[in-house]
């Protein structure tokens, strides 16, 4: 249970929305990573991806619990995860993209981790103590995630001809989903003004520096395409999310109101 603060209704509504964005992005990425369990390219990396997934699912649970309490509607973490449909989901589009080959999974992870890392760093200083506490705890985990994914991007980029081709393809395919990560909207603006969340534009600069430095070390080409997809934060998703939820929510939907 959190000791939650009371905010104006405008701020509280934005805050609940924002907490769902954090929770949903972590859950959906954790879910995607969990699809690898038992199928990884090397036993050690199978275990590593399960670790990332477990961290992210744990973080999602913390954010959902805070969101539920902040909303004050008596919902549980599972109501939020299992009983909302795709248009109510607020995760960024990047995390719902399919695993593809290991290269695509690594690149998706890296592009998200670099954003997640700087975001959590700043959220760790939020004026809201609950947000700050969850962010600080999560940052410890995500620091390791970013190290893991950076190392694999470099290893695959600078490995063999085949691995470079694969990881470059992954970068080219995923690049268009990076725009919305650090593009502020009204929710971000309201909460930034209230001192609860950082200015996303500042994160954009850190993200870019980090991404450029790793991709350069990995001998990869930055895509020149600049048109970016968006919509995840408002609930307009790619076709993939519906299938993820159909699978994830199946038992709760087929047998409603049960204890599991």
């Amino acid at each position: 249970m959190f000791d939650t603060k009371t905010y104006s209704s405008e701020v509280n509504q934005a805050l609940c929305d924002y907490l769902l964005r954090l929770a949903d992005s972590s859950l959906i990425l954790g879910h995607r990573l969990s699809e690898w369990c038992g199928h990884g390219p090397i036993l050690e990396q199978d275990i590593a991806m399960s670790n990332l997934a477990l961290d992210l699912i744990g973080q999602a649970r913390n954010w959902y619990q805070l969101a539920a309490q902040q909303a004050g509607l008596g919902q549980t973490e599972d109501d939020l995860a299992y009983l909302r449909d795709a248009p109510q989901y607020r995760n960024v589009l990047l995390v719902e993209q399919p695993n593809g080959d290991f290269g695509q999974t690594v690149m998706r992870q890296f592009l998200f981790d670099a954003y997640h890392y700087y975001l959590l760093q700043k959220l760790g200083q939020s004026a809201d103590e609950n947000i700050a506490a969850i962010a600080q705890k999560s940052l410890k985990e995500v620091t390791y995630h970013l190290k893991w994914s950076s190392e694999w991007v470099i290893r695959l980029g600078d490995g063999t001809e085949e691995s470079q081709r694969r990881i470059q393809t992954a970068l080219n395919n995923l690049w268009e989903f990076t725009g919305e990560l650090s593009k502020p909207d009204q929710t971000d603006e309201i909460l930034h003004a209230a001192g609860l969340v950082p200015d996303l534009r500042k994160i954009q600069a850190d993200w870019q520096n980090r991404v450029l430095s790793v991709l350069t070390e990995a001998t990869l080409q930055i895509p020149t395409r600049t048109w970016m997809q968006k919509g995840g934060k408002e609930g307009i998703h790619t076709e993939h999310l519906g299938y993820i939820l159909a699978e994830m929510q199946f038992l709760q939907r087929a047998y409603p109101d049960c204890e599991w």
Binding site: L27, H31, S34, E35, C37, G38, H39, G40, P41, I42, L43, E44, Q45, D46, I47, S50, N51, A53, L54, I57, G58, A60, R61, Y64, E77, D78, A81, Y82, D101, F102, G103, Y117, T143, L146, K147, S150, E151, I154, R155, L156, D158, G159, T160, E162, S163, R166, V214, E217, E247, M248, F250, L251, Q252, Y255, C258, E259, W260
Partner: protein, 313 residues
Amino acid sequence: MMQTPDPQLLFDLKVAEEQRIEPKDWMPEPYRRTLIRQISQHAHSEIVGMLPEGNWITRAPSLRRKAVLLAKVQDEAGHGLYLYSAAETLGVSREQMIADLHSGKAKYSSIFNYPTLSWADMGAIGWLVDGAAIMNQVPLCRTSYGPYARAMVRICKEESFHQRQGYEIMMTLAKGSQEQKAMAQDALNRWWWPVLMMFGPKDDESPNTAQSMQWKIKRFSNDELRQKFVDATVPQAEYLDLTIPDPDLKWNEARGHYDFGAINWEEFWEVVKGNGPCNRQRLEARQKAHAEGEWVREAAMAYAKKRVMSYEL
């Protein structure tokens, strides 16, 4: 001058005195081969065993269940790793063991050739399959080969946690809605007999048992362990108010054990031969993961030859 003692004699003495045989000690070749077969089979069972439960990670019905199931399947990968390492101390490489699994030369526990058809199967596997595995594995913590015994100490601790989480899933379902209870009963119906087969053929048809017991690799016979398992499990099923699918099951006052019905050994041997409901799918999944990971392993090797990874944040 001292005479060099006969290595066979020394080995026999150590085994008789319950001392551990360590990797650098002399050991009879058949002992080494038996251990490689048994430990690698055990490692493969952990790895293939990830598949039936992995099948429900993305459909787990709550966030807590999802995290616990994922952690559990991940533990199995960890068990596979220690066991491959223990087998490597006997002079076989992980690569070779995996190649033997993929070619069908090495076996794994047949139980993983049965499908997981409902969420209740996650409960039944934890309760029954892990419960049977614990019966088999606890005595292995005292097995004569040191690295195997030490790996088993660690593994058994985690397995008993796995069994509890399985039983807890069954309890939740058994006291849930009618549909949930039916799901639990159905899972028990499907898993009961295959689980009894996990202990292996009857004692008089188990070719390796006598020698393994003499070497103190094995401590109890298949039938002894199977009886122990039935005796422990019947009251647990009663507590859940579920029915074990065996009309011949009843307490035998004179023996102080439960009597139980005949096991379908034809089915057992067919599954061992490769004709179980999922043998082909399980092996294909492992072969596919390995083949699709080849470029990743090659890239990691190529990079390691060029430079040492040292990325700091």
